[in-house]
């Protein structure tokens, strides 16, 4: 009994630590006061607001070795190393670190938490200074461009005029493309992985299922659950379960689980998690609700749905990158059905039409959309080669040894 109680206490204190992250993150933080509002696409200003971020490595004297890493929907600023609130590993341990493809011995890596998230950058879980309560649904709807605007203000704050590279996967790729389009002069190179220039109808549909699951949970309380002391755990878990399927592939699910049963020899003729895949999804759902704010999930999925660089440029994507000096490397994965290769090709065609320097590689893998986060040697070789060429052409000294 006492062990269980202790575990319960540990879980509670972890939940509190995560909750605290929304206002007082364990990372670096910059606060923008009333003199520096964030002008949002929704037509309103967010002020004051704050951006939580992590940096790794050292900025060189010329300030030319910065790499901006943009996280995906459920990511945060903790790229590698232990997460101060959850105790988990960083989300891109395979890619970023000393000696890794995005080498922190060589590059100065900046990863900000996006606007609307819940890990220290202002979002619906943050305290609204006007009311003293969490924003909840009074938080304005934000867009990918708003996220990028806030990041640009962060770079200004850090005294970095332009970055060597902007990179990220999925929603991170959307930000990288938005960066190249909105601030071409500040982006020497862009490496969008498993992304698209617009969110597809199918992806919007999946997001809507997730949002409806959250909002159908009676504990959501019309978005006021933080004030009312409830938590829409079941709704958010279902949302995550549905989304998680889209991050994998049929082949990967089959390889991992097949039709294997979970801790039992035969079917139970009930609605227990008989199959391993059910048990796995339930686990994914339950760990997600521990660390993520349900309203943030609504806001960030909405931001992705609204993302459409094509419409933003009069229906011609090429205009988004007209005369771009930025060099691009677009990467897709064969089994990614959420952001399929055809989406990547649309970006590449537009870049070619705009006369930009672009590389495009499709990597063969059965790991689905999540492949960009996983062990993919070809992705690592491509990232190294692309960054190396960019570094060389920007005049960074070659790697020693």
């Amino acid at each position: 009994m006492s062990v269980i109680r202790l575990e319960g206490a540990a879980a509670k204190s972890r939940a509190e630590a995560i909750r605290r992250e929304a206002d007082e993150p364990g990372s670096s933080l910059v606060r923008f006061g009333a003199d520096k509002p964030l002008k949002l696409d929704a037509g309103v200003e967010l002020s004051p607001f704050q951006v939580a971020y992590m940096t790794y490595g050292e900025l060189n004297a010329q300030r030319t070795n910065a790499i901006l890493v943009c996280h995906a929907l459920s990511g945060d600023q903790y790229v590698f190393g232990e997460h101060p609130a959850t105790g988990n590993n960083g989300w891109w341990e395979t890619m970023v670190g000393p000696g890794l493809p995005i080498d922190t011995n060589r590059f100065f890596v900046i990863c900000p938490n996006v606007i609307g998230s819940c890990m220290g950058t202002t979002g619906p879980a943050s305290k609204n200074p006007a009311t003293g309560e969490p924003y909840g649904l009074s938080f304005p709807v934000v867009t990918i461009r708003d996220m990028v605007r806030a990041q640009a203000m962060l770079l200004d704050h850090l005294g970095i005029e332009s970055v060597l590279c902007v990179t990220g996967g999925s929603m991170g790729a959307m930000q990288a493309l938005q960066w190249a389009s909105s601030y071409p002069g500040r982006v020497f190179s862009a490496l969008p992985l498993a992304g698209a220039a617009r969110h597809s109808a199918q992806n919007i549909a999946f997001h809507e299922v997730g949002r409806q699951a959250v909002m159908a949970d009676p504990d959501w309380r019309a978005g006021r659950y933080l004030v009312e002391g409830t938590s829409p755990r079941r709704g958010l878990a279902v949302a995550r379960m549905a989304a998680h399927i889209t991050y994998l592939s049929d082949a990967a699910l089959h390889r991992k689980f097949g039709r294997e049963l979970q801790d039992r020899a035969t079917r139970t003729f009930s609605f227990d998690a008989d199959f391993q895949v059910e048990s796995y999804l339930r686990h994914q759902g339950s760990i997600f609700v521990e660390r993520f704010d349900a309203n943030s999930y609504l806001y960030i999925t909405r931001a992705m749905d609204y993302f459409d660089l094509v419409a933003e440029h009069g229906g011609v994507l090429a205009n988004a990158f007209k005369g771009a000096k930025t060099r691009f490397c677009v990467v897709s994965f064969t089994s990614d059905w959420l952001f399929p290769t055809s989406d990547a090709r649309a970006i590449v065609h537009a870049l070619n039409a705009g006369g930009a320097s672009v590389s495009f590689a499709e990597i063969v893998t059965d790991k689905g959309h999540d492949a960009f986060l996983l062990e993919e040697p070809e992705l690592f070789a491509i990232t190294r080669g692309f960054l190396e060429a960019a570094a060389r052409d920007r005049g960074l000294p070659p790697v020693k040894g």
């Binding site: 060099r327 490397c329 590449v348 065609h349 070619n352 039409a353 006369g355 320097s357 672009v358 590389s359 495009f360 590689a361 499709e362 990597i363 063969v364 070809e378 070789a381 491509i382 190294r384 080669g385 692309f386 190396e388 060429a389 060389r392």
Partner: protein, 215 residues
């Protein structure tokens, strides 16, 4: 014909692909080059190192592309038969098809696209009119297999082989100016400059043409 300049490159840098040396000699320094069917990026690398060109590539094989990008070259995975249409007019100074034209489904269309995208085009291809290929068909009655055409008929990617004379005829039809032409013999030596076409067609194992759009 132009003389070889000081920046001339040599076979050792191209793993024996003499046509790449000839192509590199035709490209002016500091220009923009699109290499269609760039393989593992040998020519782009050579042009970058010896001519300081701003080089891009298209390659159909994933392995080739991933290899190129890992080397820091700007290469996309794509199909010349389809993807050339996406490039704007005059995007490049040179568009290169080194040992690629004969593997395309629509060579004529590809040539037209090439000279739309670039003011100049450089084409190298294996000459099917060479005496060795002719004699293999004539004496043995079999599809030729040579150093330049190493695959059996059922395995080869080369679906539109032509002779030097065929190519010259097509260039005339396209109303394109032939600025330079080089034929290379079995040992990679240039075939005598002032020899007539029939001589080139018989003794040139490979040919390299520099084409320019008229007007």
């Amino acid at each position: 014909m132009l003389a070889r300049d000081d920046g001339a490159v040599h076979g050792a840098q191209t793993g024996g692909r003499v046509d790449l040396v000839v192509i590199a000699d035709m490209v002016a320094a500091g220009t923009r080059v699109l290499d269609v069917g760039c393989g593992d990026g040998q020519l782009l690398k050579l042009l970058g190192e010896t001519r300081r060109v701003d080089g891009r590539g298209i390659e159909i094989s994933r392995e080739g592309v991933n290899h190129c990008v890992a080397k820091g070259l700007a290469v996309i995975q794509g199909d010349a038969d389809v993807d050339l249409a996406d490039y704007p007019d005059d995007a490049f100074d040179y568009v290169v098809l080194s040992q690629t034209l004969q593997a395309t489904r629509r060579p004529r269309w590809v040539l037209e696209q090439m000279l739309r995208i670039g003011r100049r085009g450089i084409v190298s291809f294996p000459n099917f009119g060479h005496w060795r290929t002719r004699s293999q068909i004539f004496f043995r009655g079999r599809m030729p297999v040579t150093n330049n055409l190493p695959d059996a008929w059922y395995d080869t990617p080369n679906i539109h082989l032509c002779t030097i004379r065929d190519f010259v005829e097509l260039v005339r039809e396209l109303d394109v100016k032939m600025e330079r032409a080089v034929a290379l013999d079995h040992w990679g030596r240039r075939v005598r400059l002032l020899a007539p076409w029939w001589f080139w067609n018989l003794f040139g194992e490979q040919a390299v043409f520099l084409l320019t759009r008229k007007g």
